[in-house]
Symmetry: C2
Subunit: 343 residues, 2 copies
């Protein structure tokens, strides 16, 4: 058994508790035959929880961690407890080569800080980025990065995010040459900041990368399925991601209000429930769970704090796919080719 | 008749043509008794169009303009034709004091450039900002600015936007002390860029402004009705606004697909149609039309290029309210008080 078929799980992170984490991992286990899991956390609690999951028990090993990172803990505080917390130990298993990836539903800032400190950025990469898959009207999900790891970015960061995001889309979405665009406030060449325009110029000048550079895209086209990867600084990315989440919830809430507005509407709602459930299903963040820190010497997946069993299983699936496709090597190669072309 | 009851209309701007502009203005005329309109554009075409609107004819004057700004025209090109285009002449009527505000559905960049050049920024204001009203789940719409007039902003710009946005909310939403927040990627004090944190510190240190400073707000809370004014740089604002528009359309499209997915859903849809129409109505941009350039020595309202008759009427209503409440004076006073407090 090599690390490429083993995933370390921070079993204690997340708002939903250990039982949901274990149920999610057990689900993922059934989808990925041959994958093994290192379950990190309170040994007694994990062993007790595993009694409901004989299938997972057979494919997992328990690694004891005496402490847990708190949801509200400051990253600067949490990194001091890297050796004793379930989050820190899960990441360390990746560093040691005992696992191909780590998955945690815990504190995002702490996870980022610990992962960066322990795994370090890949050669040539200044900053890791947080990438996620978002739903679209197209055939595929969309890869978007950075979603908040870097408040301010320069041209070089944006170009590296494009290369890393494309490598991730090749793995996660099975695409040969993902269509990549930079998020901007207009599609004309002269729009946006100098950094964005310069990043576009550099990406246009590197035609041999395994990606199809599509220039700029505006916020209203995010979910149209017109591109596969959208690149931006962490500030804009976080604003866009949260605005999209908030707006989807806003529209759903308005719809609920509207359906409640009359008896006739209530009846219509009951009849069309399969349709509205389809919608809910499509927008459910659990079905798109698993954000990835790209650019580190090792794979770390962030699962939503409030993810349910299905969400946790999806985050594990993201990790499993990346491990199987050797994403870190792929990014290293693509970046090497880009540097060679740019030189 | 003073300028405070007269609005200049760029009758030729917009994708929907003169007939829709006139129908929209005629509608606004019925809502604002005593308001007069200066209809700027091709005199013969306007006179012909007015035949269907005797009510508007009685309350308007036609001002001939031989040319029109094109939708795709570069702002740098358009400003050279300020004296001959319907857009340029409408703005000039404000400058001359013949109208209290100008309304155009034409080219946004050109409108901004012409308005800035002709009306100039208010004393002490470095940059004008584009503000709009957005729908929320609360009792009021939300004022958001800047929405794209300024790609990059410094601390002073953000603080001035907060003061101008609050003055606008007092007028447009009839609030005494609007709740103001800065858009950020977290609500904790240490989140975001230096500029945003410094702007927050300055706003907190000015407690006598007619606004209630609420700190930071994240993208997922935009439409919750928790604050009345959201302030950001033009890049983030444009990304957030367009992402919100795109996501609302995305959810509506998914819903349509879902309703079409089975006969049962189709029947449910037909029965609950009043509910879905309520939703469509709430999200229809025509019902929130009329973005305002704040910080100029005169009022200019941008109507959506694709606005229909109702949209145009709403943009005129925004102008009429601002004119009646003497918004420019109010902003001048608030800024003066802020400078005095900060000194």
């Amino acid at each position: 058994m090599t690390s490429s078929s083993r995933i370390a799980i921070d079993a204690m992170g997340g708002d939903e508790g250990l039982a949901v984490m274990l149920a999610g991992v057990a689900r993922a286990r059934r989808r990925f035959e041959g994958m093994e899991f290192l379950l990190v956390g309170d040994e007694d609690a994990i062993r007790a929880g595993l009694k409901s999951h004989p299938n997972l028990t057979a494919a997992s090993e328990v690694v004891h961690a005496p402490e847990t990172v708190e949801a509200t803990e400051r990253p600067s505080q949490a990194i001091r407890r890297a050796r004793t917390t379930s989050m820190g130990i899960a990441i360390d298993l990746v560093k040691q080569g005992r696992a191909g990836a780590a998955v945690s539903s815990g504190n995002t800032g702490a996870l980022m800080a610990m992962a960066k400190l322990s795994l370090r950025t890949m050669p040539g990469i200044e900053r890791p980025a947080l990438a996620a898959l978002l739903p679209t009207l197209g055939a595929n999900d969309l890869v978007m990065l950075d979603l908040g790891a870097n408040t301010e970015c320069d041209t070089r960061n944006l170009v590296q995010f494009a290369v890393m995001g494309a490598a991730y889309a090749r793995t996660a979405l099975d695409l040969d040459a993902p269509r990549v665009a930079l998020l901007n406030i207009g599609t004309e060449d002269q729009k946006g900041t100098d950094k964005i325009r310069d990043a576009a110029a550099q990406l246009r000048a590197a035609p041999h990368l395994p990606l199809d550079f599509n220039g700029f895209i505006e916020g209203d086209r995010l979910s149209r399925g017109e591109v596969d990867v959208i690149v931006c600084d962490g500030f804009s990315g976080n604003i866009a991601l949260k605005t999209a989440e908030g707006t989807a919830r806003f529209v759903a809430d308005l719809l609920k209000q509207a359906f409640r507005s009359s008896t006739r509407s209530k009846i219509g709602f009951l009849i069309s429930r399969p349709a509205t459930e389809l919608l809910r299903d499509h927008l459910d963040p659990n079905n798109h769970n698993g954000a990835v820190f790209l650019g580190l010497n090792g794979l770390v997946v962030k699962s939503h704090g409030g993810a349910n069993e299905i969400g946790v299983a999806n985050a594990c699936a993201v990790a499993a796919k990346m491990v199987r496709n050797d994403l870190t090597r792929r990014i290293t190669e693509d970046l090497g080719n880009f540097e060679a072309e740019a030189a």
